[in-house]
Subunit: 122 residues, 2 copies
Amino acid sequence: MAADPLSRVFAALADPTRRDMVARLAVTDATVGELAEPYDVSVQAVSKHLRVLEDAGLVSRSRDAQRRPVHLEAEVLDLMTKWIERYRRQAEERYRRLDDVLAAMPDDTSDTPTTPQGGNPS
Amino acid sequence: MAADPLSRVFAALADPTRRDMVARLAVTDATVGELAEPYDVSVQAVSKHLRVLEDAGLVSRSRDAQRRPVHLEAEVLDLMTKWIERYRRQAEERYRRLDDVLAAMPDDTSDTPTTPQGGNPS
DNA sequence: GCCATCGTCAACCAGATGGTTGACAACACC
DNA sequence: GGTGTTGTCAACCATCTGGTTGACGATGGC
């Protein structure tokens, strides 16, 4: 199983049923039965989905008699947002710089052989 | 295979190797060989990863002689950010409203038997 | 034309995933 | 105590996934 937290969160949300559960849990807490109701699968399957979400830290389950109210832990979503935004912004930045380079360039762009991008330090 | 675009993007980024590729592609375009170099897997495996990223719309491949430069298509990341932020904000909103309710509540909170609201600092 | 290079395709394999059904634990209600 | 409700566990199954190796298409350099 995916060890790192980020992979678990991404994987958990890669399933439409689980995303729908998260969407509904954003509105209000719910029991397993309530969550299962709209889907055409067994309660056991829903329970499995919840386990995946719980392992990813996206939900927590408490106890109320026989019922297990499920609660959305939205903070984990920040993890993803931070990751995504970091690289989106980086890519954007790159375009901006490319535009600058092109703007500053004289018109003799006759030879642009293989990899026009210069230093690759990393 | 996952039909809906959002599932494909989430699934694509659920793998650490693919996330690393995206991170590197945010800096600069690269060929398949260049991308494969740091990882201890075959070039074929990397090619498969790229296919997953491409199916998710995260990268595009052009052609330069025998080489296939890979380019990050960062716009798709917005899809995810929008989904995530929507529900994170919704959940936050819910807490805010709950706080209002609690604040407006009289003090006879004598019986709150079910969930003591303890910290679950995962 | 011939060869080296870059990358993909195809077949295969082990392990994860999402679903099923059946059994059972925990609890409320009578 | 017996019964119904709620949810989990276990076993099983089909499919997907990430990796491998081997063959081969596409292209540039000689």
